[in-house]
């Protein structure tokens, strides 16, 4: 990891030899393998966390399989909970980047092995996701501390290490500064992963002190490192203060974790606690009603909807819709009763075909049938149509065919 940090500026303009090309290629291969788990296709980083999950599942399976390695079928089986298409795509990318390779480089190889670098890379990535690199920086600083104290370390290595650390701290501080100037929500979201503890600063200073005492000639590099560390702790403090300030002034209690508030309440001095209520007026003056405000309030009063004028009425006497409805209803019933009684002709039931034939021609029969059906459908009238299965055909008559059925006065209504 220190390597990747240290190799920030590889821009040497050396003559391209076969050897240097080979060295470049091996470095690139390490990078590729390291980030293979994050690659969406061979050219870009994943967009869907599921793709990383597939890689992780695969690596776990490889670790379990041991020296048996894994065949393609076994890999598919292990990843059976993921869609087949995603799995195949993933496997192709991982193979292309060298994270999963044939056990022996020969054609038609069925067994595969996983690359150690990729697994380590994935662990590193997972940790970065969880705490945004802060604990990584802790580890890195601890390692660097050991490295620079190691008697075998050369001056060049120490210089590279100090350069890398200075670069990391500068970028870190820059990110914090950007956040501190941005929206408070973003700051709250991101900053806790970024801002440092005393411990990080102390560790960085100890690395710095070790380098400076062992290689006084590196004082220029060390000055850079020192400045970067101070810039970082400044930015970190500023971000923290901005967050605390905004939490205080907006009284948005969610901006800081509850523990922070509790600690403050328990440890703050009386003056600081009292300062919380500095902006409050307890004997607030009575509200003022300016004459112009009163006028405005009256003008803005909700107005009732104006009563709509009713549409013009005709001069003719009009009993109204309701009266017409009621009258027509009783008259319809009367008419239906008369027709039904006429069709029955005093009997309790009469075949429908006979009643229709009695009506004469088809138009009249048709009207009669409609009225009988209407009477049947009126529950308040005691007449029912009861149909049977038969069908009588008589091509000569106006009623050329008729279903069998009777029209009757229902017993229920007497």
């Amino acid at each position: 990891m220190s390597e990747s940090l240290g190799s920030g500026a590889p821009g040497e303009a050396e003559a391209l030899s076969l050897d240097s090309a080979l060295a470049d290629e091996s470095v690139l291969a390490t990078y590729r393998r390291m980030f293979a788990a994050l690659a969406r296709d061979s050219g870009a980083v994943v967009e869907d966390p599921m793709l990383v999950d597939i890689a992780e599942t695969l690596f776990a399976a490889f670790a379990e399989a041991g020296e048996d390695w894994l065949t393609h079928e076994r890999m598919r089986h292990v990843c059976r909970r993921f869609p087949a298409e995603a799995f195949e795509n993933r496997l192709r990318v991982l193979k292309a980047l060298g994270a999963i390779r044939e056990v022996f480089p020969k054609p038609n190889q069925l067994r595969y092995r996983a690359s150690f670098t990729s697994v380590v890379g994935l662990m590193f990535v997972r940790r970065m996701m969880a705490d945004g690199g802060q604990s990584e920086m802790h580890r890195l600083l601890a390692l660097e501390d050991l490295n620079v104290a190691d008697p075998r370390t050369t001056e060049e290595e120490a210089r590279a290490s100090a350069d890398g650390l200075a670069l990391a701290f500068r970028l870190w501080a820059l990110e914090l500064v950007t956040l501190a100037a941005g929206t408070i929500e973003e700051l709250r979201e991101q900053a806790p992963k970024l801002w440092g503890t005393e411990e990080i600063t102390a560790r960085a200073e100890s690395v710095h002190a070790t380098i400076l005492s062992r290689w006084p000639s590196l004082d220029r590099v060390c000055t850079e490192l020192r400045a970067a560390v101070y810039a970082y702790s400044d930015a970190s403090r500023r971000a923290a203060r901005r967050l605390a300030d905004s939490a205080g002034t907006t009284r948005n209690l969610t901006l800081l974790p509850p523990e922070t508030w509790r600690t403050f309440a328990q440890t703050a001095s009386r003056e600081r606690l009292a300062a919380v209520l500095d902006g409050f007026v307890f004997d607030a003056p009575a509200p003022w009603h300016d004459p112009s405000d009163i006028v405005r309030a009256v003008d803005e009063a909700p107005r009732p909807a104006p009563a709509r004028p009713s549409p013009p009425r005709s001069d003719l006497p009009d009993p109204g819709a309701a009266a017409a409805d009621a009258r027509s209803d009783t008259s319809v019933l009367d008419r239906l009763t008369a027709i039904a009684e006429g069709a029955l002709g005093g009997a309790d039931s009469v075949p429908v075909a006979d009643a229709l034939r009695a009506a004469g021609d088809w138009p009249a029969a048709r009207r009669l049938l409609a009225d009988l059906a209407t009477a049947d459908l009126r529950p308040e009238l005691p007449y029912r149509l009861r149909w049977a299965d038969g069908l009588a055909a008589d091509p000569g008559s106006p009623l050329s065919w008729a279903s069998h059925g009777v029209f009757e006065r229902s017993a229920a209504h007497g």
Partner: protein, 223 residues
């Protein structure tokens, strides 16, 4: 402690200070108000500065609870208590709470119980802050209305002319109310105002109400 400073602090927190009636004098910078054997000291900043000045400096004043409603109720009280529009609103006359409520209900065009209760709440808040005084079902303007500068009275006068009169014209105020009504009718619109009291007296609240709505509408259009 300095007596003047103490008096101002007290007035800021508690409103107009009650004074002993009959004993002249008031703390520095305050004006002495007397009415019906009671006296108050009202802080009156120099040069006609009022808290309304804060708005010019774009500073938020003291927040008013349900400001629109409260101010409409205050306007209704003004309409009822400020009978003589040529004089200052202070001291004003007492008016029945029911009259105030009926003016308010006409103003907003709602007469349901909910709005009535809200109006009663606004009345109570106005009484708490000394803008009004309320006792025995009667409302009076409170000492704080004397803090309105004379220059701002014309807006309120116009407002009171626009507002509908209390719905049922009580028998007692009519004869003495005819004078001011005729006067402001002359000033604003002679026809409507001269017809107003007469029609009310003959035709009762229904027609009067309709006429008042029309007057309110006219006033709004003019504003």
């Amino acid at each position: 402690m300095d007596d003047t400073a103490l008096a101002w602090a007290r007035a800021r927190a508690l409103g107009p200070l009650p004074l002993t009636p009959g004993v002249p004098g008031a703390p520095d910078g305050m004006v002495r108000l007397e009415r019906d054997g009671r006296a108050w000291a009202l802080p009156l900043p120099p040069d006609g500065a009022t808290p309304g000045l804060l708005e010019e400096y774009q500073i938020a004043g003291v927040p008013v609870e349900r400001s629109g409603e409260t101010r409409r109720v205050l306007a209704a009280c003004l309409k009822c208590c400020w009978r003589d529009l040529q004089a200052d609103p202070w001291p004003g006359e007492p008016a029945p709470v029911e009259d105030v409520l009926s003016v308010y209900q006409h103003m907003i065009g709602r007469s349901d119980d909910m709005h009535r209760n809200w109006a009663l709440g606004a009345l109570r808040r106005l009484c708490d802050s000394a803008w009004l005084e309320q006792a025995d079902g009667m409302v009076r303007l409170g000492p704080r209305v004397a803090a309105w500068t004379p220059e701002s009275h014309h807006q309120l006068r116009d407002l009171c002319r626009r507002l509908p009169s209390p719905a049922p014209p009580a028998a007692a105020p009519l004869p003495e109310g005819a004078g001011p009504a005729g006067e402001d009718g002359d000033a604003v619109r002679p026809a409507g105002a001269s017809a107003g009291p007469g029609v009310d007296a003959i035709a009762g609240p229904g027609v009067g109400g309709a006429l008042m709505d029309a007057e309110t509408g006219g006033g709004e259009a003019r504003a």
